[in-house]
Structure formats: structure tokens, C-alpha cells
């Protein structure tokens, strides 16, 4: 910056006492550093005001100054009939993958049940084709793989826990494979058949065309019957294997002759002990298993279905898996491409 001496006495005074100080005048038409700083600050402030006062809020954007890094817009993912039909097919293929893995393995499936599994495989393949044809008929591309979310979150971890167990971690010891692999495989496929039937029941409200609802539910009827038969195989107690004890209680007719009276109920003893005494001799008892019923409830449920599989860990806790009907994070949207 050029130095221009100023013959103002006051200006010279400012330099007094500061060794080596050079006064740069601004009164002679040249913008000094302070002026440039002011101009720069004014520009930045002006830009910020413009950014704030622009119509960004209306358009749902943040105001920015300067270049911003590029972002990738997420694809539109509407839940269309095609997406639901692809999801329906994916569920059948997830089921097929389990059946195909176990059908020839006597360690996982009692050979006497092989004809049953062979029949279930045929039914699942036929069902998948029904959905593939419906997808094509509705202008979509069929989904030819298992359901991505179900496989990764529910089925594979369950299968792994049954067949291999779990490796040791810094916090927990290793878990051995299931103490009864055949029992747990039946439990897993029973859960899958049940939740698939429930899924198709739920899709009835999501599909826009009545004809597609009927087609989907007709397949769901088959899965419901599969689940009922598997329940009868798992739970050989009668009548509990047929209908749940809750259903049995609800169906009991009261002998009360008073008209319009309902069945009497047993008062609940709130003071009763609800804790389970620890077993003697150390070690924890494994998580008790819940035996299914062919008719679990009066109306078909779309609620979470919990299955319990695998050997207990060091605390005796088995793996509890909550099976749910598909939702937004497990639909096979139209923009997705299958890869299997």
C-alpha cells in the first residue's frame, strides 16, 4: 500500500509514539485497508440479507451463499399396487429359500416331513408366479428375489442362530447351535407362513383394485392353511393344538339363566407372586417356548408375531424374533431392481 504523508497535524499526532508507524491517508481518493474491510463486510452482510430474504422458505430450501455440494435426490417411492405385488412375490421367495435349504437336510427336517415341505415348495412357487403375472398385468416388472428386509433382518439371523449359533463377543460368550434344530426350523417356517398370510390380509386395504385384493387374499388363504397344519405338527396337544386356550375360554357358554348376562369372570389376585424362583444348582433355565395353535384367535391378526428359536445364551435366553407384516422399509418399490 502506498504511503501518502498527510500534512494534517492531527494525523501526524496519531503516529506519534508508535515507532515506525506510517500514516496512510484516505482523504485523498484512495480506499485504504479499513475501507476495503468495510466494503468486504458490507458485501458479506448484503449477501446474507439477500439469502435470508429470498423465497427459500417458501420453496423449502435453506439460503446459502456460494456453492454448495451436490446432493442426490432420493427417488420417488410410492406404495403402488405393483410395489405390493412385488413385495407379495418376494415373501414367497423368502419362504422358498428356507424350504429349499432344509428339505434335504435330515439334521434340520425330519425326513417324514419331506413330502409336506415338497408340497409347500410347490405352493410357494405357484403363489410367486401368481404375483409375478399380476405384476406384469399391472404394468410392472416382477420381483424375482426374496424380500430384502425380511431376509437380512428376520430370516437369516434366525436361521443362523438355529444352525450355527452365535460367535463370542467382548461382552458375551459364544452361543451353540440350537438344542433342537428340527423343532426350531418348524417354528421358523410356521412363523413365516403365518406372517405371510397376515401380510396378504393387510394388503387387502392397500391394494387399489378389488380384483387384486381377491387374488392376493386367495393366496393368503393357502398360507393360513399351511400355518394351521404346521401348528398341528408342532403342538400335538389336543385341543390346545387346534384352538388356543383363550379361544376355548371365550367360547365357553355361561350356565347363568339371567337373560342378557355374560359369562362370569374370575377375580384376579393382584397379590399373587408373579416371579419365578431361581433354579437350584446354578445356571439359568432357557426361555420357555410357546406352542402355537392352528386357530390362535377368532379374527385374523396382523399384529407382531414373536417366535423363539435357538439355544439359550449364558443366561438361558433364546433368540426372540418379532415377525411383522411388511411396511415402508420392506416394500419392493418399483424403482428397485432385484439382485440375487
Amino acid at each position: 500500500m502506498s504511503h501518502q504523508a498527510n500534512d494534517s497535524a492531527d494525523r501526524a499526532d496519531l503516529a506519534d509514539g508508535v515507532d515506525g508507524a506510517t500514516v496512510v491517508g484516505v482523504g485523498n481518493g484512495v480506499v485504504g485497508r479499513r475501507g476495503f474491510l468495510r466494503l468486504g463486510g458490507l458485501s458479506v452482510a448484503l449477501a446474507a440479507v439477500v439469502a435470508a430474504c429470498n423465497k427459500n422458505t417458501e420453496e423449502g430450501r435453506l439460503g446459502r451463499i456460494g456453492l454448495a455440494p451436490t446432493t442426490t435426490k432420493l427417488p420417488d417411492a410410492p406404495v403402488t399396487d405393483v410395489a405390493l405385488l412385488r413385495t407379495s412375490a418376494s415373501l414367497q421367495r423368502s419362504l422358498l429359500s428356507v424350504y429349499n435349504k432344509v428339505k434335504d437336510d435330515p439334521e434340520l427336517l425330519d425326513p417324514t416331513y419331506k413330502p409336506l415341505v415338497t408340497r409347500f415348495i410347490a405352493d410357494a412357487e405357484a403363489a410367486a408366479k401368481v404375483f409375478d403375472d399380476a405384476t406384469t398385468g399391472d404394468g410392472g416388472v416382477p420381483w424375482t428375489c426374496g424380500n430384502s428386509k425380511f431376509d437380512s433382518v428376520l430370516i437369516n439371523p434366525s436361521y443362523q442362530r438355529i444352525t450355527v449359533g452365535a460367535p463370542a463377543t467382548p461382552e458375551a460368550k459364544a452361543i451353540v447351535p440350537s438344542d433342537d434344530k428340527k423343532r426350531d426350523i418348524l417354528t421358523l417356517v410356521h412363523g413365516m407362513e403365518s406372517i405371510i398370510g397376515a401380510s396378504y390380509q393387510q394388503f387387502v386395504t392397500l391394494l387399489s383394485k378389488p380384483a387384486l385384493r381377491a387374488t392376493t387374499l386367495a393366496v393368503g388363504v393357502g398360507n393360513a392353511r399351511h400355518a394351521a397344519l404346521l401348528a398341528l405338527m408342532i403342538n400335538t396337544a389336543r385341543p390346545d393344538g387346534y384352538v388356543s386356550t383363550d379361544e376355548q375360554s371365550a367360547a365357553e357358554i355361561s350356565t347363568d339363566t339371567t337373560p342378557a348376562s355374560g359369562p362370569t369372570t374370575t377375580g384376579q389376585n393382584l397379590g399373587a407372586t408373579t416371579t419365578t424362583a431361581a433354579t437350584k444348582g446354578g445356571g439359568s433355565a432357557p426361555t420357555p417356548l410357546v406352542a402355537p395353535s392352528a386357530i390362535p384367535a377368532t379374527f385374523g391378526s396382523t399384529a407382531i408375531l414373536q417366535i423363539i428359536v435357538g439355544a439359550g445364551d449364558e443366561n438361558g435366553t433364546r433368540l426372540k424374533v418379532s415377525l411383522q407384516t411388511p411396511s415402508l422399509n420392506s416394500f419392493e418399490y418399483e424403482y428397485l431392481n432385484p439382485s440375487c
Binding site: 497535524a9 446459502r64 454448495a68 446432493t71 442426490t72 420417488d76 387374499l217 393368503g220 397344519l229 385374523g300
Partner: protein, 252 residues
Amino acid sequence: MEIEVSPAESAGPAESQREPAGRDRPNVARRRLLGVGLGGAAATLLPVIARRAAATTPPTSSNPAGSNGTVDTRSATTTAAPASTAPATTTTAPPKRPTNADVPLLKFAQDIELAAYQLYQIGLAAKLNDVQHTIIQVFSQSHLAYGQALSGLLGRLADNKVDQALLDSQTAAFSGDTATLLAAAGTLESTLVATHVSLIGKLIGTDAAYLLASIVTVEARHGTVLASLRGATALADLLVDKEAAALTPAGG
């Protein structure tokens, strides 16, 4: 070290020591010229600043694998090349409540459920063992519950009558021996499944479709239980391969 002093900040010379006014004019003129120039530059840059202030980033869609590549299907947020740039199709959601056209279909569904309840009540008089008696009783109450649920959906439009044709055609079988009763019950459940699936294919309102769907999936299980109860072992019987024909409401 430089000390910058501006005319506004400096003490300035005393008035008596100021140069004559005429001698300030060139400095003022230059200052004004400079200010105008800077102002013009700012005005020129203002639109540019505004554009950059307004824009986030232009939306881009990228598929790291290329336009024809596969994408990771394990994430629902995976990006992929959009199929087209056409605007999204808007659809009208179907109504929830039953429409006028749904009402006669739902009345028919209720009538046959109440007929099924009556038939099971007749069947309870048969010589049944404890397990059979429990099952027939549970199924009887279930069909009553279905009729009541349909009544709730229809509200004042429900007529709460029994389908006389179905009742009349099946009374003899349900009054028969245990084997005949169980076989007739299995056929009845299959008939109801086929009928309700057919009705779902006609209903417009989704509430009604959902109710019937929740009934159908259980009635389907009834068929498997009844087959097992009567001692069937063939998968074709247990899985009810031969579905009965659907009933149709009178007049359509």
C-alpha cells in the same frame, strides 16, 4: 507499521486551518466517483449473489453402478436412475366406509355367517367327544362373532337374519352322525372362504374388505382343523385342495 486514518475518524484539522473549500472538490469528486464505481459493481454482482444464495444444489440423480447397473437392494434408500422424468401419477384412494353397492353384499355375508352359527348349534347336539365338542363350540361362537362384526359395520342397515337357503340345505348333514357332521362342517367352511373371497373382489370400501379378510384367514384354518379332527392324513384334504363353490347373493 502503518496507521490508517480516515477523514471521519481523524481529528481533522481545525476549521481555521482547513484548506479553502475549492481545494476539497477534487478529493470529493474522486471519492464520489469511487463510491459510484463500487456501488455499480455491487449492483452488478447482486443478482449473482442472489442466485447463489437461493440455490441449494441442482438435483442430480446418480447411480454409482451406471444407468444399467444393479443397486444394493438391502437399503430402501438406495439411489437409482429414475425410470422416467414423467410426473408422478396421482391416484384417488378407495373409500373406507362401505358404499351403497357394498351394502347388499355385506348383508349377504352376514346372513350366511349367522346361518353357519345356527348350523353349528345344531351340530352341538351330536355325540361328540370332549375335543370335538370344544372345536364345534369355538367355531359356533366364531361365526356368531363374524355376524355381529358385520352387523356393526352395517349399522342400522343390518337385517340380522339367517340365510334360510343355506340353513335348509345343510340342516340334515349337521344333524347327522359325527363323521357326517365334521365333513359337512368342512364343506361349509370352504364354502364360506370361497364366498367371502369372491365378495372381496367386488367390494369397494376397504373397511369391509379388511373385515372379511380377517374372517377368511381364520375360516381357512377351520377347514384344516376339521379335516384333522375327522382323521384325514392326506395333504389334499388337510390343505383343502378342492375349494367349494362360492355362494352368490340372490339376484346377483
